[in-house]
Every structure is written in C-alpha cells, then in structure tokens.
C-alpha cells in the first residue's frame, strides 16, 4: 500500500478505517449505558422484540435513538464546518459564524415564550430559525458583494443582533428561562426517534449533495478569478454550499440544541489526516464527526452514572486540548500557507 499521504489508497484506507470505527462505536454505544445490561441480554431482547421487557425498552427507546442522534448531529456539524471553512477560506469558520445557532436559539425561545402549548414544534422552529438567519446573513453580504470576508462579518453582526433579540424576549418573559437553558446547553438525553426522523433524512440528503459538489468546491478554492475562468459558476457554488451548510447545521441544532465546537475542530483533524481535497475531506469529516460525538455522548452519560454531564462539556474537554495540540504541532490546520 502506498503510504504517501495524498495517494488514493491512503485515502480509501483512512475512510474504511473510520467507517469500521463508527460501526464499532455505534455497537458499543448501544451496549453500554447507565444501566448495566449484559450483551447476551441485549441480543435476546432484540430477537424477542418484547416491548415490555425493560432491556428492550432501554435499548430501543433510549440508547438507539440517542446513538443515532449523536451520529447524525456529529456528521452534520462536521460536514457543515468543513464546507464553511472551505468556501469562506477561513479555518476558524464554523456553523456558528453564519448565524445558525443564534437563529435556531431565537425561534426555540419564541416557541417556549409565546406558544408553550406547542413545545413539540421546537424542532421545526429551530430549523426554520437557523435557515432564516443564514438567508439574512447572505442577503446582507450580497449588498457588499458576496466575498468570504463579508459573509463572516455579516454573520457575526447578525448573530449578535439576533442574540440581543433573544435576550430581550427572555427579559420580558422570564418564565421561559428554563427552556432556553436546555436548548443552549444542548445534548441528546430524552431524544426520540420522531425527533430525529425528519432531520436525519434531511441530513443524509444534504451530505449526499455536498459530496456531489465537493469537486466544485475544490475549484472554488483556487480563487474567484481562476475559478471563473475555468467555467465555474462561483456564485451558485458558494450559495449552494452555504445553504447546505446551513441546512446541515440547522437540522443538527434543531434536535441537539446548541452544541458547538464540533463544526470547528473536526474539519481541522480531518484536514490533518487527508488534506484539503473536499472529495475526501467531506466524507472523512462526516465519519470523524459521528465518531467523536458518539464517544463524547457515551462518556457524558457513563462517567458519573446515574448523573449525566452535559455533552457540550465533554466535547470541549476532549476537543479543546486536542485542538491546541494540533495548532502547536504544525501549520497543517490552515487552509493556506
């Protein structure tokens, strides 16, 4: 096998390895939890399909939805971050930068404050808010010519503004505070299959489309003029990438709350492993994002069982130092020298 980092066989090996790791991770996550259930019980419970058996209930209604949610959210946020970092040519970009978190947060709070009977709509509302925020960011950036810089600046401005509105709503209606905290911290406890069903499919389709345009994103990285002279419709590619990034992040945030950091750090690690070719970077980010989030969620619910640590804390604890290590180790994390 050619161990040259840029060779095809290396890339395929890495992806295969990560895929296997993910499958193992899903398996482990389903087998381990706060309640100690021996493996043989799990297998027989699933075979019997008896929904009154507590083992069956825990596996099917608690662990599996949670595992899937972590994988979907991790994949979505990682791919979203990788796309943004490529399209905006900014390795500090993350879904947060284009307003996803703040938009989702505002709409979730609006539901909790003004329509508390419809709390089940929070998922849809959060997703809508995320998309609308991104449209607003793009619309403003368009006024100044959609360059990478203006999108980031516009995103920061819009996020602050939306954040201020959210805080105002919370001040005027202080009873909604608890709803906001839960959403702000984020996590996968209490997830049901219904909540992730729609988002999960949106995520799968969005990732597929992202893979399809991944080569075009490579061309975009050459610079606007070179890309245009090669016949690339740069506005369309940039816009599509942003929309996909928003849809991915919005879907994840809608059921997972505002967990940050994954979209920022996973692409860096992926680039460290396989370089900048989006055709490889995006799938690797997806796999790595799923694995990382899965592990963090597993640790969150197992370390101090029966007490659960918010998964965001584990993510920061693991991700932060590792990120620093990457930064120190080399300039590989940056897109451009």
């Amino acid at each position: 096998m050619n161990l040259n980092k840029n060779s095809k066989s290396y890339n395929v090996t890495v992806m295969a390895f990560l895929l296997v790791l993910l499958i193992i991770g899903i398996f482990v996550s389903t087998s381990i939890g706060s309640a100690k259930i021996p493996l043989s019980d799990i297998v027989s419970a699933i075979k019997q399909g008896d929904s009154t058996l507590k083992t069956y209930i825990i596996i099917m209604f608690v662990r599996i939805p949670r595992t899937l949610a972590a994988v979907f959210a991790g994949c979505a946020l990682a791919v979203s971050g990788a796309m943004l970092q490529s399209v905006l040519n900014n390795s500090l970009a993350s879904p947060n930068v284009i307003g996803v978190n703040s938009g989702a947060g505002l709409f979730a709070v609006l539901i909790a404050a003004f329509f508390p009977e419809s709390l089940h709509l929070t998922t849809v509302a959060a997703f809508t808010g995320a998309i609308l925020a991104v449209f607003l960011v793009y619309f403003i950036a368009q006024k100044t010519g959609v360059s990478r810089m203006t999108i980031v600046l516009s995103g920061v401005a819009v996020s602050s503004f939306i954040g201020a509105i959210t805080d105002t709503v919370l001040t005027l209606k202080p009873d909604t505070v608890f709803a906001r905290t839960a959403f702000l911290i984020g996590g996968f406890s209490g997830i049901t299959m219904e909540k992730i069903r729609y988002s999960g499919f949106i995520i799968v389709i969005a990732v597929i489309i992202a893979l399809i345009i991944s080569y075009d994103m490579n061309i975009l990285a050459l610079g606007d003029e070179s890309a245009r002279s090669l016949g690339l419709n740069i506005v369309r590619v940039r816009f599509t990438s942003l929309i996909l990034a928003a849809v991915l992040a919005g879907s994840a945030v809608s059921f997972a709350g505002q967990i940050g950091f994954i979209g920022l750090i996973v692409p860096h690690v992926s680039r460290f492993l396989v370089g900048h070719d989006n055709r490889v970077l995006l799938p690797v980010s997806a796999l790595l994002g799923g694995i990382f989030t899965l592990i963090c969620d597993l640790l969150a619910r197992v370390i101090f069982a029966p007490f659960e640590i918010p998964v965001g804390i584990i993510i920061s604890f693991l991700g932060g130092p590792f990120f620093i290590y990457l930064l120190i180790k080399g300039k590989r994390g940056q897109l451009y020298g």
Binding site: F61, I191, P306, F307
Partner: protein, 326 residues
C-alpha cells in the same frame, strides 16, 4: 447546435428525475410507518384521573414500583402510604428523607437518567410540569406504555389535591385525613384568628448567590403571607420582581421584610449583605430598625412543606400576630 441542445436537455432531464426521485423517497419515508404504541381499549382500570397537563392517566393495576422525579412528590407519595423504587437526588440533598436501601437514585431532578428509570421497571412515574427534561422523558415513556402523571404543586391546595389522588391510588384514605385534611384544619384555624383588615405591608425577597428579587402572588411563601392578610408591596411595584430598587422600598416602607434563600444559603445571604444592605438608606427602613427583617427557613418557605404546610402558616402567623399566637 441541435445535438448540443438535445444533450443539454437530456442532462437536465436526468437531473430533474434524480431530484424528484429523492423527494418522493423522502416523502414516502415521512408518511411511512409511525411508531404507535398499541392502545388497548380496556375500560377496566384500577384507577383513572386527569393530571396537571390535562392528560387522562389510566392505571391498570395498583402501582407497586413507583419512581418520583421530584423530591417533594416523593415525600407526598410516602405521606400517602406508598413506597418508592426510585427517586431523584434532591430527596437527599433538600429533604433529608430517610429511604430504604432498595430505593435507587435515578439522577438529579433537573436531569433524571432515563436508563436508570426504565431499569427499575416502573409502573408509575411522577413528573413535574415545570421541568423540561421531564416533558422529554414522558415522550419516551409513552412508547413502552409506562404510566406516568404530571403534577404541579405550588400552593397548599395543589398539595391537597395531589395527596387526594395519591391516597386514592394507595388506598390509604386515612392518610389523606392525617396528612391532608388535618393540615387544612390547622391552617383554617389559624386564618380564623386573624383580622384580615390589618393590612400589614410586607416585602418578600428571594435571595440567591448572584442576586435578589422580590416575589409576588405566584410564589408559595407570598400566598401564605397573602392569606394571612398582608399586602405585598411588590404587587404595586412590579419592577421589584426584576430588580430590587431601594427607592420603591423606601417609598412603601413595608412593615416586614422577609427573605427566602435559594441555592447556597450562606452565599445568598452574603450577597444580600454586600448588596442592598450596604445602601445607607437600608438601616432607615422601619422593618430593619424594628427588627422585622427576617430570614425564613427554606424547609418551610422554599421547598414545598407538604404535610408541614400548617407549620409554615403558623410560623409566620406567630411573627405577624404575636398576641394571637403564643
């Protein structure tokens, strides 16, 4: 040009077909099988009632393995003569309840652990309407048809209603007498003795380690004060509910100022001391000058006192009307 046009058309057609395929697959799955728990149409239930969220709760059998996700509800269940398989940690940290070793801790009140709850094979789970994670948990409990009920207890009447339901379930109606109606009588007796037109002005402050706010009618302690014939100055100055403003307090100069702490009591009181109490005008308030600035015990005025609700009324009555209540 002709051939190019046809090829372009074909490519577009292929793309449109591809997109339509995805959309139709998507819709198919969306409208596809939904997980519906089998609703057995059996009207022979052991007990049915409507819970605080308006849901109809049907219990097929008398619950033997009860899990309470709120410490105060756990206590109520015990007062109703029931036993608990699982409780949340606030039962120990806030209530110091003595529980048998078989009772498991299933997490915190704010974040109970679903797996632990289910591992106990519960046949009845008590939830609070005010806690978001409880609402989420109920959605998962629906699937395997684990019975649950939401309660909302803010004032004594709520506790009484809940005790009524619980004693119906446990069958120990005599405990409803002892822990419910007797307390009601205790409270009624107290209220009979006071002159409702006294119109003592009071202010209730809830202090926590990062600040303090006034409380009004919704709050449990305020209702007690209200029932005892006082006027809460915060009802006239709603802004006090957000921020304690010295001006408004001076304006009303309440006869009594009560404090209830939340969280770390020492820290909360210290914050008060370093905050509003440092204001030079503070010591000029009548309540402060006449030693009517009183810190109320948490167990009676912050946590739900349940069967001790009568003691809460008595505690304040003795302060407000020392002559009537020796």
């Amino acid at each position: 040009m002709n051939i190019k046009f046809k090829i372009k058309n074909f490519k577009t057609a292929k793309r449109i077909f591809f997109i339509l395929l995805i959309i139709s697959l998507f819709t198919l799955v969306l409208t596809g099988c939904k997980e519906q728990p089998e609703e057995k149409e059996n009207s022979d239930y052991y007990y049915s009632f409507t819970d605080a969220l308006g849901n109809t709760v049907n219990l097929k059998n008398k619950p033997q393995r009860v899990v309470s996700l709120v410490g105060s509800y756990a206590e109520t269940w015990i007062l109703a003569g029931g036993e608990l398989s699982g409780v949340t940690s606030d039962v120990v940290s806030e209530r110091n309840l003595d529980l048998p070793s078989e009772t498991k801790i299933v997490g915190t009140i704010k974040d109970p652990n679903l797996e632990e709850i289910i591992a106990l094979s519960p046949d009845f789970v008590l939830l609070s309407t005010d806690i978001e994670s409880h609402v989420k948990i109920s959605e998962t409990l629906k699937k395997p048809n684990i019975p649950f009920a939401f309660f909302k207890v803010e004032h004594f009447e709520d506790y009484l209603d809940m005790l009524d339901v619980c004693t119906d379930i446990t069958g120990n109606k005599e405990l409803y007498e002892k822990n419910g109606l007797a307390v009601k009588k205790q409270i009624d007796d107290i209220l009979k003795k006071i002159d409702k037109n006294n119109n003592l002005q009071i202010l209730l402050i809830r202090a926590f380690s990062s600040g303090a706010k006034a409380k009004d009618d919704d709050n449990m302690a305020c209702k007690i004060l209200n029932d005892l014939g006082t006027v809460n100055i915060a009802s006239k100055h709603k802004s006090l509910l957000e921020d304690l403003s010295m001006e408004e307090i001076i304006l009303e100069d309440p006869d009594y100022i009560f404090v209830v702490t939340m969280g770390n009591s020492e820290q909360a009181l210290k914050t008060l001391k370093d905050g509003i109490e440092k204001n030079p005008a503070w010591n000029k308030l009548s309540a402060v000058k006449n030693d009517r600035y009183i810190v109320l015990p948490k167990e009676l005025f912050h946590y739900k006192p349940n069967a001790k609700w009568g003691e809460s009324y008595e505690y304040i009555a003795k302060i407000l009307y020392p002559d009537e209540f020796k």
